[in-house]
Structures are given as C-alpha cells and as structure tokens.
C-alpha cells in the first residue's frame, strides 16, 4: 500500500490536529539574568508546550537530558501550572534557537550547565503552563457560555461543575489556539501544588530500560559512514605524513582523510573504521607538542605557590593576623587531572548540504556550537540545525567551550565534500586520551588561631589552569582571576575576620581543560573542608560545632549542616567495627550553584587495610524541591561519582602522553564500592536551584575527614592512596 501525498490543505489540518495549540509566549526575564541579555530580545516569544487533539501534552525541553532528570523536572513544572495529568505529558528536546530557548542565566546563549536548568526555567515554565491553562479555560468558558471563574482544571480535565460539563485538554486544544494571549496569569501558591514536591516518575525510564532510547551513538542515516580518528599522542602535535595503504585494504573502509586534528578513517561500519584506524601509519610533527609530565607540572605549581598570585578575595588584614598568631596551621594539597569518562564516549553525526549543516548530538552548548560550526563552514548560524538527543552522560564534557569534537566531525564531512552523512565515533581510548580534563590544581592553606583558639586568619593560594581564558566566556576572567578556578574558596562561607585568597594561572600548560561536574568546587570544597576540620581539631572543638559557630551569618549552610548531623547521629558514638577494624565519621558542608549540601560519611578501615565507605547521610537545600525522588537520585549518583574521583580518579601524563586509556586504569567505582546513601531535603520556599552537581563537592572531604577521625591521617593528595592512611 502506498500512502497518498498529503495535500497542503489537509496537511495543514493534519498538523493542526496533532499540534492544536502551539503557544507563543512573551515571558519576563528574571532579574538575576546577566546584563548581556538586554541586547538579545529578552521578550522574544518562547514555545515550550504543545497540546494535541489526541490529548497529549508535549513539553519542549530547552535543556539537555544527560541523566540529571531535567526532562522530568521541566515537565513537572509545566504540568503543574497547566494542571495536566502526569501520564499525558511527554517531553521533546528543543531545537537550537537561542531566541526562544536561551538559558536565562547565560545572557541569551542556549545551553545546559552549571546546574542552571531548573533555576533559570522555574518562572518561565510556570508561565508557559499557566498561560496555556488560562487559554484552555477561556476556550471552555466560551464553548459552554459560562464564566471562566467557575471553571476548574484538575489532572488534565477541564470542568464546569454547576453545569456538569467537562472536557479534556485535547478536546479544547484547537479552540484554545484561537484565544488571545492573556496579559497576566496567576501562578499557584505552593500549597496548591499537585506535582511539584510530590511524585512524578521520570519520563525517560521506560525507553531507557528497553533499549529504545536514542543516543547519538545509535543514529543511522541512509548512506552514513562511520569515522574513527587517529589522534596525536601529544597535545599540540600535527600530522607530518601518513600511509593509508593498509587502512584502505581493510574491508569496509571507504576513505582516509587528513583533518586538522589527525587522520580520519571512514567506513561503512564502526568495526571496519576501527580496524582501518589501527592499520594506519602516521608520523607526527611534535615540534610544538606539549611534552611535560604530571610530575613536572606539579613541581612547577609548587614553585609558583611560593609567590603571591592575583587576589581573588581579601578582607581584614590577613598578614597582621599571621604576624604573631598563637597557633598557625599550614597544609598543601594536590589534585590531578580528571576525565569525564561518560559511559557514552564522544560522538557526533553530521550531514552537510551546500547551504546547511545538520548535526545530531547530545547537544549541550547550542549557541557556541552553532556559531563555531557556521564559522568553519562559512554559513550563517541559523543554517546549522542541531538535533538534541539524549546524552549517555556528560558531566560537562559535551559542553565543549571549543566545540572540539563537533568541529572534528564537521571537518571530516568537509574532507569528503559532504558526499555522505558522517558519524564520528571516539573509541573509549580516544575519549580518555584526547583531552579536556578537570584541571590539575595545587592549593596551600594557612590558618591563624588567637590565644582563645578562635580562627582569626585564613590564607588560601590556588595554582591551576583557567577554563574560561581563551574561551567564548573569557570576558569573565577579571584581573587575572578566573572566577571558576576559585569558586568555593573565594566565597568561603565561614566568618573569619582576616582572609586572603589568591590565584596563579600557569601559562604554557597545553593540556585542554574543561568544567567537570561541580567545576571549581571539586577541589576547593576538598581543601577548605578538610582544612577547617584540621583547624577544629587544633582548636579542640567538635567539627560540627566549630563550623556552626563560624556560620552564624549563613543560615542555609547551618541548616543543612545541622540536619545532616542530626540524621547521622552526630555526637552519638559510632558503632564499633569488628576485630582489627577502625571506624570514623566525618562531615563537610558546601554550597555550589546556589544549592547547599552537607554530608556525614562513615568509614571502616578493615583489618586488611582496605577502606570501606559505609554510609553517607546527606542534607540538601535546593529551595523548593520540584521532584524529591529525582533529588534523591542525583544525590545518590553524585556520591558515587565523587567517590570514584576520591578513590581512583587520576589522569596523568608522562612526557606529555596521557597514561590512562580505559576503565582498567581510570576506574569509576563499581557496585560493591557504593555506600548506603540517605538523603534529607530541607523544606524550603526559596526559588528552586539545581541538583545535578552540588552533592558532588562535600563527599570527598567528608570521607577524608572520616578517615582522619579513624586514623589521625590527613590526606592531602588525590586520589587517596592506601599507603597514606595505613
């Protein structure tokens, strides 16, 4: 049977039928948005919602779903104000269109990151839902000739009780589309919430449990070729020459092309492309390649730490506080490079046409990617279409400030003149070695106590590469300080009268660096929260009480700290371990991205010297809790993710070559290493903030403090080594 072509008129009707109501909304910009937004039409219409005559409610997510639950969270907010039934709601990824889908925290650019999805979308999604609801109610009022005020909406049913009439959202969709946009809508009061703060199961569970969810890796296009690339062994090396004859002899290999980042082998399938890549002989020009090893980098950082850096924060007179302190403590810390190592290795699908470029990707940085791809192709940004697919994890890697892997995919497509769609596949080894890491850092900390054992002085020096410098966000680097190098340190919450935080940004370290789940706080929370614990010990005070006394101006830090301590039974003796076992309990509290998290970790040092993290009690304040179960899930996952870095995570270089390649030498934790996790959510009426990252930072210091409680050993170099706490 062949399908007759759809004529224009009936096609129009058909489209109306499917999408009876596409809302164009004029939405206010929250006051906190960056000032640049002023110039980029902050009142442009947005489209976040479609209601079909089939009674489906489609929420369009402007943010990438990479596991953090944003599709579910955003849909929860829209459905709440719309009064839809949760079961009728589905979610679709938005196209690249910064006019409609800008991240309101990012000054008009579209993208996902910094735990901003819920924060920037809360008011916007509420208005999207409430406006639609008002138009549906108006349509019902008109149809039934009753006052709109007498109409109620509940779980997707619009009712007029006096006349006992009701209709589904779908039945009213077409009529609602003709209603005028309301000038103002009334949002719900928190006590009216039906979904927010209640149970709203994830929208992506079913398809992620039956193999149907579509990731970039799964895209198949007619005639598509798969590309696997030989990357240089050292950053900054170039192809000198290559011999493709053996690669071309591999069955399935179609072409071998040189691109700016290496040599790409294109084949009909992934395995042939890999075999072809492995058969290549490439000679690299390493004259300008980066050739330092981790030890040399660390030595340089230690040397830099001897002299003052750029001031990131200063208050009081820190040098005088240190002139003659009653007691002075000093510690230094080393943090390695870390790979994101998402389960889905990087990949990207490109289809080139003479005047357009279509991309399929776990797309996290629409505006930057569109701009950079367009520039490389000589197109306008609007001619670059980005399909945002599920990402099999990202942890920041797909928010590439340089659009690195996307441009690599585009280069390959250009090198074959767009003759076929190209799927670029990075094998695990490429993903591990080809860069963009959490930057390595070195910290030194000093504390001064007065005769009453009060903490009066704090000096903190950091040394590490800048993520923002040289990126499209480089303007945020201010007086030599990249704010994300020092976040969590420069804004230390503790009330210390004399304080200085300074920063060295080393030059000439050509290892590509990028944000990694919770960014600066991955290292600043560790150094500050283990050091403050040492100071508490030196002051002969309980670590929780000591912190609380310094947090009198920080009610939300204090709130989560008290809650975690109480739920963990802080102050009660810890259950004894078995014969030869030592146990310890440690605490840490940290704010990142506007969310406050405290964690109490319990550990056992087993008789054989092995460390077991038994239990982590977490208290979270992320404002209004949109989806409590997703908050719990993110906190559980963050504990595991952070524990992987603490126990095993390090990317090291030897003469410029990355030493790790796969999960045997860069190991995420496995199921037997996962501690029990308890999550307690602070009841709050503050605006909601993110939860994808903020539970990562406190875990490592809480565990390290627990190890110190058990052994007296302070661990100052990550990942921790058994020899350091034996």
């Amino acid at each position: 049977m062949t399908t007759p072509p759809i004529e224009n008129a009936s096609r129009r009707r058909f489209l109306q039928g499917v999408a009876g109501l596409t809302l164009a909304l004029y939405l206010p910009r929250p006051a906190s948005a960056a000032p640049q937004a002023e110039t980029t039409a902050p009142f442009a219409p947005n489209a976040f919602l479609r209601i079909g005559v089939d009674n489906s409610v489609t929420v369009i997510s402007k943010h990438l779903e990479m596991g953090q639950g944003t599709y579910t969270g955003l849909a929860t907010i829209v459905a709440e104000e719309l009064d839809a039934a949760w079961s009728q709601v589905r979610v679709e990824g938005a196209p690249a269109d910064a006019k409609r889908y800008a991240n309101l925290q990012w000054g008009g650019a579209q993208g996902t990151g910094g735990s901003t999805a819920i924060l920037n979308s809360w008011e916007q999604m509420r208005h999207a839902g409430a406006t639609a609801r008002a138009m549906l109610v108006a349509a019902a009022a008109q149809r039934w000739q009753v006052p709109a005020e007498e109409i109620t909406v509940s779980a997707g049913v619009v009712s007029h009780h006096p006349s006992q009439r009701q209709a589904s959202l779908g039945e009213l969709a077409t009529a609602a589309a003709t209603q005028p946009l309301p000038t103002a809508v009334k949002l719900k009061e928190p006590h009216q919430f039906q979904l927010v703060g209640k149970v709203a199961p994830r929208k992506d569970t079913a398809e992620k449990s039956n193999g149907k969810a579509r990731f970039t890796q799964d895209v198949q296009l007619p005639g598509m070729l798969v590309a696997v690339v030989a990357h240089p062994p050292r950053f900054g090396a170039q192809v000198k020459e290559f011999d493709a004859s053996r690669a071309k002899a591999v069955k399935g290999v179609v072409e071998v092309v040189q691109i700016p980042t290496g040599v790409a082998v294109l084949a009909h399938d992934t395995w042939s492309a890999k075999k072809g890549r492995d058969a290549l002989t490439v000679t690299w020009d390493e004259e300008r390649a980066f050739k330092l090893g981790s030890d040399e980098i660390t030595a340089r950082y230690h040397e830099l730490a001897q002299s003052p850096g750029a001031i990131a924060h200063a208050q009081g007179d820190p040098d005088r506080a240190f002139a003659q302190p009653a007691r002075r403590l000093q510690a230094s810390y080393d943090f390695p490079y870390l790979a994101h190592a998402a389960m889905e290795p990087l990949n990207c699908v490109v289809q080139l046409q003479p005047t357009s470029c279509e991309i399929w990707n776990g797309e996290q940085m629409q505006s930057v990617d569109q701009m950079k791809i367009a520039a490389q192709l000589g197109l306008e940004p609007e001619q670059v279409t980005l399909h945002m697919l599920y990402a099999g994890g990202s942890f920041g890697r797909r928010a590439s400030k340089d659009s690195d892997y996307l441009l690599e995919a585009v280069s390959i497509a250009q090198a074959i003149a767009g003759r076929a769609p190209v799927k670029l596949v990075w094998l695990r080894e490429d993903d591990m070695r080809a860069g963009y890491y959490r930057p390595a850092f070195h910290h030194t900390l000093e504390a001064a106590l007065d005769a009453e054992k009060q903490l009066i002085g704090w000096r903190h020096r950091l040394v590490g590469q800048s993520i923002l410098a040289g990126s499209p966000f480089g303007a945020r680097v201010n007086n030599g300080v990249d704010p994300i190098s020092v976040e969590g340190a420069a804004n230390l919450p503790y009330g210390i009268p004399h304080m200085r935080v300074d920063l060295h940004t080393p030059q000439g370290i050509e290892v590509p660096v990028l944000w990694w789940r919770s960014v600066g706080s991955t290292h600043t929370a560790y150094s500050t929260e283990t050091f403050i614990d040492e100071v508490a010990t030196a002051a002969e005070q309980d670590p929780v009480a000591f912190r609380l006394a310094l947090l009198t101006q920080q009610p939300r830090h204090a709130g989560v700290l008290k809650l975690a301590a109480e739920k963990a039974g802080w102050g009660q003796p810890l259950t004894q371990g078995g014969a030869g076992e030592r146990r310890g309990r440690g605490v840490a509290v940290h704010e990142s991205f506007g969310t406050f998290v405290a964690q109490v970790a319990e550990v056992t040092l087993q008789a054989d010297g092995k460390l077991k993290v038994d239990r982590v009690v977490c208290a979270v304040d992320c404002g209004i809790a949109i989806n409590p179960d997703n908050i719990r899930s993110q906190v559980e996952g963050s504990v595991g993710f952070a524990l992987s870095a603490l126990l095993h995570g390090a990317i090291t270089l030897k003469a410029g070559v990355v030493e790790q390649s796969n999960f045997h030498d860069y190991a995420p934790i496995r199921i037997h290493e996962m501690p029990a996790v308890e999550v307690h959510i602070v009841a709050s009426s503050e605006p909601p903030s993110g939860i994808g990252e903020p539970a990562v930072p406190p875990l490592a210091p809480a565990v390290a403090n627990a190890i110190a409680a058990a052994t007296g050993k302070r661990l100052r170099s990550l990942p921790i080594q058994p020899a350091d706490y034996a």
Binding site: N210, F215, M343, G392, S633, M674
Partner: protein, 152 residues
C-alpha cells in the same frame, strides 16, 4: 554467511567471523539497544545473552555466536524474568543517563534466572562487571530485590 538466532528470529549475517557480535547487532542488524562503551570487557554496557549466559558482546566474535540463541535488551522483555526486571527498573526510576542500563538489565536478568533470591553479595558478584558512571548502583540493587520478590 553466519546463522544465528536473535530474540527468537533466525538471521543470516554477512560479516567477518572475527567481527565482535556487538557491532553486528548495532551496525548490521540495527539493534542499537546494546551499547558500546569500552570495547574491552571492562564495563558490561554491551552485555547480551548467548544460550542463556551473559556475555560481553564487544569481545565475543560473531563466529562464537554461530548457531546460538542471542537475546538482547530488545527481546529480553518477552520472558517473565526480563519483564519483571524492566518493571522493577520502571517502578524505582533506576535510570539516569541510561546508557549503561541495557547491560545492567541483561546482567540482572541472568542473575535472577540462575538465582531467584540473590543476596547483596550475589548481586555484587553478578553485576560487578557493569559500570554505571552515573552511579545508580543503589537503585539497581533495590530493583533486583524488587524483581526477585515479584517473581516469587
């Protein structure tokens, strides 16, 4: 031509016998639910069943699957244990990014098929080869216990 039975259907595949089963499933047969992540039997994302046994398809040559019954995530729900596991996964909202979950489910089904009442230690052993970078391990464990209960 190599003949194998995939999710109950007999299929002929024209590929080199040394091609890993993973790429035959994904690229030749377009069964993309089985995932590539490490290619070295280190992570379990590519787990399928071969004659009822869980195997890492990224290191299983096509020749080793010749004449055998292959079950993938696309087919595992047609049997009671698979259905129960997928249902438990849904009830507890186990997934985050989801990329590892086909492999987790295939390992969980293999475990429950052999052992209807697994202990935590049994789960650690059977799922020890499956990495979840999102660290959904607590829910994986809980969902396996839940599925076990529903199968009684």
């Amino acid at each position: 031509m190599i003949t194998l039975t995939i999710n109950g259907q007999t299929t002929q595949v024209d590929a080199d016998p040394d091609t890993p089963l993973l790429w035959v499933l994904r690229d030749t047969l377009h069964l993309t639910g089985t995932k590539y992540s490490c290619g070295m039997a280190l992570c379990g994302a590519c787990t399928v069943q071969l004659d009822g046994q869980p195997v890492r398809s990224c290191v299983t040559p096509l020749s080793a699957a010749a004449g055998k019954r292959v079950v993938t995530i696309e087919g595992v729900g047609s049997e009671a244990v698979g259905r129960a596991v997928q249902e438990a996964w849904r009830q507890l909202d186990v997934v985050q990014c989801g990329y590892c979950q086909s492999g987790q489910i295939m390992s969980a089904v293999a475990l429950l098929t052999a052992n209807r009442q697994p202990s935590d230690a049994d789960i650690d052993t059977a799922l020890g080869g499956n990495i979840c970078r999102c660290a959904t391990y607590l829910r994986i464990r809980a969902a396996i216990h839940l599925a076990a209960k529903s199968l009684v």
